[in-house]
Symmetry: C4
Subunit: 267 residues, 4 copies
Amino acid sequence: MGSTDALLRSVANPRDMKEIEVEQVAESDLDDPVFVEGLPGVGHVGKLVAEHLIEETDSTLLARVYSEHFPPQVGIDDSGVANLAHAELYAVPTDGRDLIVLTGDHQAGDNTGQYRLSETFLDESERLGAERVYSLGGVPTGELIEEYSVLGAVSSEALIDDLEAAGVEFRSEEPTGGIVGTSGLLLGLGSRRGLEAVCLMGETSGYLVDPKSARAVLDVLQERLEFDIPVEALDDRADEMEEVISKLQDMEAAQSPSSGEDLRYIG
Amino acid sequence: MGSTDALLRSVANPRDMKEIEVEQVAESDLDDPVFVEGLPGVGHVGKLVAEHLIEETDSTLLARVYSEHFPPQVGIDDSGVANLAHAELYAVPTDGRDLIVLTGDHQAGDNTGQYRLSETFLDESERLGAERVYSLGGVPTGELIEEYSVLGAVSSEALIDDLEAAGVEFRSEEPTGGIVGTSGLLLGLGSRRGLEAVCLMGETSGYLVDPKSARAVLDVLQERLEFDIPVEALDDRADEMEEVISKLQDMEAAQSPSSGEDLRYIG
Amino acid sequence: MGSTDALLRSVANPRDMKEIEVEQVAESDLDDPVFVEGLPGVGHVGKLVAEHLIEETDSTLLARVYSEHFPPQVGIDDSGVANLAHAELYAVPTDGRDLIVLTGDHQAGDNTGQYRLSETFLDESERLGAERVYSLGGVPTGELIEEYSVLGAVSSEALIDDLEAAGVEFRSEEPTGGIVGTSGLLLGLGSRRGLEAVCLMGETSGYLVDPKSARAVLDVLQERLEFDIPVEALDDRADEMEEVISKLQDMEAAQSPSSGEDLRYIG
Amino acid sequence: MGSTDALLRSVANPRDMKEIEVEQVAESDLDDPVFVEGLPGVGHVGKLVAEHLIEETDSTLLARVYSEHFPPQVGIDDSGVANLAHAELYAVPTDGRDLIVLTGDHQAGDNTGQYRLSETFLDESERLGAERVYSLGGVPTGELIEEYSVLGAVSSEALIDDLEAAGVEFRSEEPTGGIVGTSGLLLGLGSRRGLEAVCLMGETSGYLVDPKSARAVLDVLQERLEFDIPVEALDDRADEMEEVISKLQDMEAAQSPSSGEDLRYIG
């Protein structure tokens, strides 16, 4: 149908959106910065750290990254204004080492998109002068955490000593199954470019947003990169979450009067 | 196998169908029209409004948009004639503001296709002279609706006052999770092109096709764009649906004689 | 890792397999043939007819179509020789109208692949002189069939009378949900090329391979295209299947001694 | 949003990673080698053989193959160093026929990627002088194996006699459903290039990593390609696995004291 009554036929050549687009908002004047990634993931650990860094410093939005590999979606801000799915790069000056921080609400929805967006993030961070990459995330333990360890993975064995001195643990072949998503690719692709790349993973139950795990990762980051920012906001969020957990445990205890040991697990 | 007994080998270069094709059926003579989208979605709210606009005016089919991102599918009309999956653009003249209305039976099946088709729809609507975009949809509440509110999201805060005057509600960071699919992308991508873009979302239970929610969205649209078309057909469909719901509630009441409050929820 | 100890780096440019490849095996000398498609689908109705046409005539394999849109898979023949996933085109001469028959074990695994392979099949059939397309399939009814109706869908209303004369039924907007997959696309894309395209769908329970439904479709095809081939082999398969169904019903009857009416439904 | 406050806009052109990349690590000096593939699959049979060949010989890593079709993932080695998802090609000299062995932790995540990576593997093995391809895998039986048969599939019937002489079984149209993934494609695509291609599949329950099945495949491979390497390591792993199975059976016996026949099935 259609071929007889058609007056014209044209092949669409969509005008605006490319596969990946970097919209530069401001120039950076950071000197020898370190690239830090915190996108959504297990326990939102990486994203919590990234947002904290942006909020607690005199940060500047440098660029937005759009891509047709992101979900076809807009977010709505508090006044009702929509923003197309994207990731954001911020200049984050500190009293010590300056940072370029990547955060956002999405990861790519397909393998190819994950690779290409990660390469774009590395391209941008290199253009901004970064030769070191820290990707941040959580590693799920399946049970509530008593002591918030931070696991590490690196592009080169030479990096391990300094990280261990800053409190990072290295465990043989952990996390089992490797590191999936942008955090893993920034490490793997960064390494192939000859960058110094580190992934810091806060242990977290995996069931809840975990500001305590984020605090542990932030501590290591501050120690290693020698800067110091206020941590109260993150601790406040941790306290709020403690209360939520405590209430959940009370509810569970009321429902099933079993041993206290079991209550530590939220399934 | 095959390499020994093959006489010839050729690489196929499929002849006809491009990634996206716009088949122009008629020229538009609309002056300064507004682009209105109503594809299938929650409660079919957007599609109901779009179809109503097309049926109740002296509308003209302007173009069909085909794409290999649509499902590999044909629809069958009432005489048995097949039509390849596509979207349609109509010229919809009114007594006030003229409209270009997009409707159809499908959205793209993949992220990339969603982005590219939305860009194509914007290309076409811009070519037809539209500088304002209204995407229509439903927002699910999970329970039967008493009062049919219409939520809004916009490309720019400057648009909010006029929309609120027309009865649109703006709620901070709602809908939670943003707006997914073509309605969201027309808003997000339209905004990036500098177009004035609005998404109107009728509250709906999310369980049923909802002509009442469509009526609420249509009312807002007429108020805002200053036109007036008959609404009886939509009200008739709403009455029919009311009867269906009423029967469902009676059946539910007969089966489980619990409190009247519960009956308002169809799960 | 890797960048330091690598001697060389090369970008792979895979040599052989294109997105779609047509391997021509023989030339056709058919005059004004009709293109008939029977790939796997509901009740394997289309594939049963296609295979029967190939087996009961002096057919010749014309071409194999390979594609990276097919599953990454080989089939194994009865002597242990592997063959890469592909579709096959046969020249099928009859006492009346000659046919080009498409069959195989796979459909494409993604939307884009479905469109591109269907275009390739149409390219090939046009190159071989066919201007008429018959795609064959089954339409699921959800219950055992007493009378094997054949539903039709067409590219143009002008085709309906002759098909009804050959026993095809046309029901308004049926099959609901349209026709999905290669059978639907050959109809939709064929129509856009200006070809005369028909889809014949044998009613079938949808639970079992259905040679009786295939027989009904074959009868219509023979009547419409005026040819006559032996049908005994298809009837023998139908008889075997009847026995299987009869045994299943006996087993069901033994297990749940309910009314005879219910036994006609195999769920 | 964004279009008003943006200073600059650039389209990203990711710098480093291509669709598929071959990173050459060393030159091969093998003479007329045979290409052997053992990627992860049913019972990890193929991978166990490939790893055993690499470990028990004076093997050399020749190349790593990276691809955006692999999962977006890094693995972590025993010292905490990350490596980007990849496959590896090794030169494996033996006392008889030399081998090029392909192994790794991943297969491509999409159909197209499977085809393109398999073509790349064949390109590389041909460049290294191989004209014969052996892909290794497991075929699931659904029950514990008493006698470890090795099934074969070939590019050409002429290969069957020699393989049967080496202990390979050929069963009509088995494995049912063909061979899926890289092992199947190397056979199918290798055959289309005119290469001599064989797939050896060790029977395995499909529930556990199966070193005994790997041993059976290795025996056939050694017999057919006339080389001889130590097998103790593989037998030790088989013994360990036997113990695991034995314990599982004891546990099952303790839980459900039914007939001994049933205990042979681990579901």
